[in-house]
């Protein structure tokens, strides 16, 4: 974090009274880094390019998840469901009718989807909206309970969506999943959506809406007493969160080109949970930074899982090592720094 502190100090010295720059420091820095990585990404090999795309997708899903979990404080455990809905809907809309006919060998694809083929942007948006709508529907019964019980109920919905993805063969092709999804998620799309999500949710979090949601997080009863319709605002946060996670899922599908229920298990939720906890619940730029760190660390640790051969030194492959490391990281984080790297503050200069 040394370079970061140095830049902060430099700006403090150079522009002591520029309030705008101070407040928006984290956001501006993130957007600049995004644009730089867009240029860098076009000149590096495919491995790094794909890594940058993956980080951007994780950024979108993480900031979306953080909006309902961190900002509004409604602890849910079903982002995998919204990612799955966004991914499946968008993939069904972009795949050509011929591909669908070839992929769905068990049962033909359901009626409206067998003829439709839409451009990528529209398909992504529809995927996001479908996820938002399902979040809305799930939210209505779920927000009648809170705390631990809310976590349980949403966990249940995550499992239900996974069971449906496995068994609703005419729509999801069952456990085989969808193959041959066009690889539309380019660097520009992924980074563009990532910057948009961070920018949009940052503004919302640091506006009146954000303050309302934070008041609900801090004390629900007090918020209600000041005239806030707690239920409606929770539902709003949850729906919006579902939208961005759905967008992330849609991009993810067009990045992997093959999706199956296996991709959207509780494991994905666990990864997103680690990301938003590292970044700090409630900090949008924090979770964006954490998403990038997490994705890179995850890929670097993959090297250990596959084994290392340097000259005569052979480290045998250790499958499953990454999850041990991240589970320990999560537990240690909860014990020693439960507020995450950035707490619930945005990255700014105070």
């Amino acid at each position: 974090m040394n370079w970061y502190l140095r830049i902060r100090k430099l700006i403090q010295k150079k522009f002591p009274n520029n309030k705008f720059l101070h407040r928006y420091f984290g956001l501006i820095a993130f957007i600049i880094v995004g644009i730089i990585s867009l240029f860098i990404g076009n000149h590096v090999n495919e491995f790094w390019q794909r890594l940058i795309i993956l980080s951007a997708i994780y950024v979108i899903m993480a900031v979306g998840y953080n909006f309902s979990n961190g900002v509004a404080g409604q602890f849910s455990l079903d982002p995998n469901a919204y990612a799955a809905i966004g991914a499946y809907v968008a993939a069904l809309l972009t795949m050509s009718p011929e591909t669908k006919e070839n992929v769905f060998i068990l049962e033909p694809v359901m009626k409206p989807f067998d003829k439709i083929q839409l451009p990528f942007l529209i398909a992504t948006l529809i995927g996001g909206l479908a996820a938002a709508f399902s979040a809305f529907l799930i939210g209505i019964p779920s927000f009648r309970v809170r705390g631990d019980y809310l976590a349980i109920i949403t966990f249940g919905f995550g499992e239900i969506i996974n069971v449906i993805a496995n068994n609703l063969v005419s729509l999801t092709n069952g456990a085989l999943g969808l193959k041959g999804i066009p690889e539309y998620t380019t660097l520009a799309w992924a980074i563009g959506w990532a910057i948009f999500s961070v920018f949009f949710l940052w503004h919302l979090t640091n506006s009146q809406v954000g303050r309302i949601l934070k008041s609900i997080r801090e004390d629900e009863i007090a918020a209600e007493a000041t005239g806030i319709n707690v239920f409606r605002w929770k539902l709003f946060a949850f729906t919006l969160s579902g939208f961005f996670i759905g967008i992330g899922g849609a991009l993810f599908a067009h990045y992997l080109t093959t999706i199956s229920p296996q991709v959207f298990t509780f494991f994905l939720t666990f990864n997103l949970l680690i990301i938003i906890l590292i970044g700090g619940l409630g900090s949008i730029v924090g979770s964006a930074i954490a998403a990038v760190l997490f994705t890179f660390a995850f890929e670097i640790l993959r090297v250990f899982e596959e084994g290392i051969h340097i000259g005569h030194i052979n480290i045998p492959p250790i499958p499953g090592l990454r999850m041990v490391v991240f589970a320990i990281l999560l537990i240690a984080l909860m014990i020693f720094r439960p507020q995450g790297l950035f707490g619930d503050k945005e990255v700014s200069i105070k």
Binding site: Y149, M323, A327
Partner: protein
């Protein structure tokens, strides 16, 4: 759809339900005392299974000894997990959500640790011969494993009831569940009681793991997830924190699951989803479950 088919389905349901009940009792005990949803309970059951596996296979112990020894060793694993992961949070008075997240972390840690150490390939559990016998009444089959599960389950629950309601340590456990701070002021060594609770819960998990393994004799590091989740549903359904609720909830969930598969074969693949829908519906109608106490919200 004759009578013996229905009787067979009921027996299969009770057999599965008794397993869920046994696991759910462990969940509910820990929750009852420290209000922690121990997500890792299913994985502790897995640990117990592997301990029993090595005791039976490598040390060639007779099964009753292996069962008791694995329960004790797993009990200490549970205490260790509490000391390392949960106690620092309790000492700091961390939010409940932080506890829940840590429990999710512990669950993933145990699973992946066993994958790293033992590999993810399923192993065959050496089922003692006695459990492979089957009785036949008319057209209804009952396996020895089912009978053993029910008998051992009843013994465990009775011992538990005795400990919780008739001993001093049980009184301390109940006191902690009502008011943590006041119990401390009364001179009760709260940490020791909580450790004991974890010991009991984990030992129960090991016993239920053993019973699970003699009915479904294939064990792997991820085996705890599905029974853990189902038992968790059972515990919440019955009212988490209540031992009776866990037993009743476990039996209901087990019987329902078998009935869905037996009588509605079209929906068989959706049984997990249906079980969760039942849970969600119950929570919406009666948020504390069938036997749960109502928690008043203090303003």
């Amino acid at each position: 759809m004759d009578l013996s088919f229905i009787a067979q389905e009921i027996i299969n349901g009770i057999s599965l339900g008794a397993l869920y009940a046994l696991i759910a009792v462990g969940y509910t005990m820990v929750y009852g005392v420290i209000r922690l949803i121990n997500f890792a309970h299913g994985d502790i059951m897995m640990v117990g299974c592997f301990i029993a596996y090595f005791l039976l296979l490598k040390l060639k112990l007779p099964w009753p000894l292996a069962l008791i020894l694995s329960a004790i060793l797993t009990g200490f694993v549970g205490v260790l997990v509490d000391r390392i992961a949960y106690k620092p949070l309790r000492d700091r008075g961390a939010a409940r959500i932080i506890n829940l997240i840590t429990a999710v972390g512990v669950s993933f840690f145990l699973e992946s640790l066993f994958v790293v150490v033992l590999g993810g390939v399923p192993r065959a559990f050496p089922v003692p011969d006695i459990f492979n016998k089957e009785f036949c009444i008319g057209n209804v089959y009952i396996s020895m494993a089912t009978i053993a599960t029910i008998i051992i389950g009843l013994i465990c629950v009775s011992i538990l009831f005795y400990i919780v309601y008739k001993t001093k340590i049980g009184m301390a456990m109940r006191a902690i569940s009502v008011d943590f701070e006041t119990t401390k002021l009364m001179g009760v060594n709260v940490d020791r009681i909580i450790s004991f609770t974890f010991f009991l819960g984990s030992a129960l998990a090991a016993i239920s793991g053993f019973m699970w393994a003699i009915q479904f004799p294939s064990i792997d590091p991820y085996m705890g997830i599905i029974p853990g989740v189902k038992a968790f549903v059972a515990a919440v359904f019955g009212g988490i924190g209540s031992v009776i609720g866990a037993v009743v909830g476990g039996l209901i969930i087990g019987i329902l699951e078998i009935f869905i598969v037996g009588f509605l074969p079209d929906l068989a693949q959706y049984r997990d989803a249906l079980i969760f829908l039942i849970l969600i519906f119950t929570l919406l109608v009666k948020p504390t479950g069938l036997f749960g106490e109502k928690l008043e919200e203090k303003v």
